[in-house]
């Protein structure tokens, strides 16, 4: 059942109608199959780009749609509910565009953004490394000044769209000075010295490729630097604040999909002579699931409205990511339970949604790291 949404403008309703139409006709029918076969749906990103859905929160000047996060995230939620590889892909792409959009100079923005937001160029975001995950500032990929530009060497781990992206937003070290020694670079696919590992064999979200990105003597011009030297970690964290809201929206989408599937099944499946939904033990479970999904949605929208109002929102975004992804894990697990044995097999969507939910507790800062962010904000001197 379509989620009833109070959107801020009539145009946002038109936008959601368009998204639902594309989901029903182009995305939902193939999600399960693509997922089983581990096929990356690159064509869907082209379609979404043409429909103007890949640059929603960015300014119109360079091909964006100037939509508030409150609206953009609800689009991500709907996409993720139909096909997480697409919803999360849109979120990661939006994250990858952020440094150029927010810190790039006018020339770079005019050059790169129209194609990034139009769907011709798909993005990837390279922060994690094999030895530095939660402790992202411990990254060791180096960018050394040379010939008026940079030479980059290192290995990036877990890159969503690694090997299929058209550009890589790479955090690399320009000095030994801890977080302040990190800088942000724009690296186009095809740059000599760039290569990729075999895509990871994952528990879920198999049609979204995740791979190592290896940089071996990659030569970049001075204009590849986004923002100032040493500003990279700040840019990466600012990007992640928004990215975490994207992950929260994805989690709500997955949880809503699980709730919808479980509810429909519980009304149809009969045991002891009646639909299982009529057993209070099961009906109350569905009620809890629905309440948790609604609460998670309310929390990410609350954080989004702070952001849209130009207020600091990082802590609230961390709360939304933490709560929404834990909720998705709980709700999808319960959905499998509602399906009984049928929940454990691939013929029904519940098991896929449960596998998909798990990754959301890990990416863009594990939920332990979200708690760290929240507790630090609480105990910091004002």
């Amino acid at each position: 059942m379509a989620v009833d949404r109070a959107l801020p403008t009539p145009e946002a309703h038109d936008l959601l109608d368009l998204v639902r139409d594309i989901i029903a006709k182009e995305i939902a029918p193939r999600a399960a199959r693509d997922e089983t076969e581990g096929r990356f749906p690159r064509d869907l990103f082209t379609l979404l780009g043409r429909a103007g859905l890949l640059g929603l929160p960015y300014p119109e000047e360079h091909g964006g749609a100037a939509q508030p996060y409150e609206v953009y995230l609800q689009v991500v939620e709907e996409l993720a509910g139909a096909f997480l590889a697409v919803g999360l892909g849109v979120s990661v792409h939006t994250l990858s565009c952020f440094p150029v959009a927010a810190y790039g100079d006018q020339e770079r923005r005019a050059e790169l953004l129209p194609q990034m937001l139009g769907g011709e160029l798909l993005g990837a975001y390279c922060l994690s490394e094999p030895q530095s995950g939660s402790d992202a500032a411990a990254l060791t990929t180096r960018a050394q000044a040379a010939d008026g530009g940079y030479v980059v060497d290192g290995v990036k781990a877990w890159t969503t769209h690694g090997g299929v992206a058209d550009f890589y937003t790479v955090m690399a070290r320009t000095s030994a000075d801890g977080p302040r020694g990190i800088s942000c670079f724009h690296v186009p696919a095809g740059t000599p010295g760039l290569s990729f590992g075999r895509p990871e064999r994952k528990m879920g979200m198999r049609s979204s490729p995740t791979a190592q990105v290896r940089l071996d003597g990659v030569r970049l011009g001075a204009d590849a630097l986004i923002g100032e030297e040493g500003e990279g970690f700040r840019i990466a964290m600012a990007a992640l604040d928004g990215g975490r809201l994207g992950i929260a929206a994805c989690a709500v989408g997955v949880a809503q999909a699980a709730l919808d599937a479980a509810t429909a099944y519980a009304r149809e499946r009969r045991q002891f002579g009646r639909p299982i939904a009529e057993f209070q033990g099961l009906g109350f479970m569905l009620a809890d699931m629905a309440t948790q999904v609604a609460a998670a949605r309310a929390l990410y929208l609350d954080a989004a409205r702070l952001r849209d109002a130009g207020r600091p929102y990082g802590t609230r975004a961390a709360m939304a990511k933490l709560f929404a992804t834990d909720t998705a894990m709980k709700v999808t697990t319960d959905a499998v339970q509602v399906f009984g044995g049928y929940g454990y097999v691939e013929d029904f969507p519940a098991e896929r949604l449960m596998r998909e939910a798990k990754v959301l507790q890990i990416v863009e800062g594990t939920n332990q790291i979200q708690r760290l962010v929240i507790s630090r904000a609480l105990t910091k001197d004002a």
């Binding site: 038109d14 368009l18 103007g52």
Partner: protein
């Protein structure tokens, strides 16, 4: 080139469609109105021709006030402007009446090429393109799965039972298309926004000099005198295979005179 696409609003095929007990015509308020599927292909083809040869695409819709939703959809796909023919006098028009009304309007607004879907999912007469061409005195190129334009020459591949015919004519002309012709685009979000500002001109019967004696329910040559709701589908018969399944299936088919 001045291209006019005729676009119809039809009840959503996904919802239950009803006839009105008042006058035995389609109850257009009972179901959600959507753009007739084949009309999307017609709009797409018009946009492609415009992209290749330049010109302007006008949407022409005859239908009640709520048909504006459908007009907006066609405009969001990229059409430039629209004419909405709306008048109570037109309610209940059959294919003959509709072709008269549309032909009169087309004469008023002018055209080099008229494109239609080959049929609508509600009435499914499939004759409108031919009737329109006759009334306008232009060639008719129907059931096109491919359209080529070269200067004032137009040729199509017309779908037939055995393959296709190549049909050639000179513009102005009327073309109807089948779904093999293209893959309609989705409107973009920007297209949806832009569509709200595109001009939609409203015509009544007087504006288009439509002869009211030829349109409307009373003037229809055909009349629906009675209708019945389709009976719910009966449950199937389950034949249990006890080694004689083949014989039983054959028996069943024979009883229905299939074999």
């Amino acid at each position: 080139m001045n291209i006019v696409v005729c676009v119809k609003q039809v009840p959503d095929t996904a919802t239950e469609r009803k006839l009105s007990s008042k006058d035995n015509t389609l109850d257009r308020d009972a179901a959600d109105g959507v753009i007739n599927e084949l009309c999307e292909y017609a709009v797409e083809e018009a946009l492609k021709i415009k992209e290749a040869h330049g010109g302007e695409v006008t949407v022409l819709t005859m239908g009640p006030a709520k048909a504006t939703d459908t007009i907006r959809k066609a405009l969001a796909m990229g059409a430039d402007k629209a004419v909405h023919l709306v008048d109570d006098a037109l309610h209940g028009s059959d294919a003959l009446g509709t072709s008269h009304a549309l032909a009169q309007t087309l004469k008023k607004i002018g055209f080099d090429l008229v494109i239609l879907g080959s049929e609508s999912t509600d009435a499914r007469t499939g004759v409108l393109a031919a009737m329109l061409a006759e009334r306008l005195g232009t060639p008719q190129l129907t059931l096109a799965r491919k359209v080529d334009i070269d200067g004032s020459a137009i040729s199509i591949e017309r779908v037939t039972d055995y393959g296709y015919d190549k049909v050639t004519a000179t513009l102005p002309a009327v073309v109807s298309v089948v779904e093999k012709i293209n893959e309609p685009r989705y409107p973009s979000f920007k297209g949806i926004m832009a569509a709200k500002k595109k001009p939609v001109q409203t015509f009544g019967v007087a504006d288009a000099e439509i002869d009211t004696a030829q349109v409307g329910l009373a003037s229809s040559w055909s009349e629906v005198t009675e209708f019945a709701v389709a009976p719910p589908r009966a449950a199937g018969t389950i034949v249990k295979d006890e080694g004689d399944g083949g014989a039983k299936a054959a028996e069943f088919l024979a009883s229905k005179k299939f074999i």
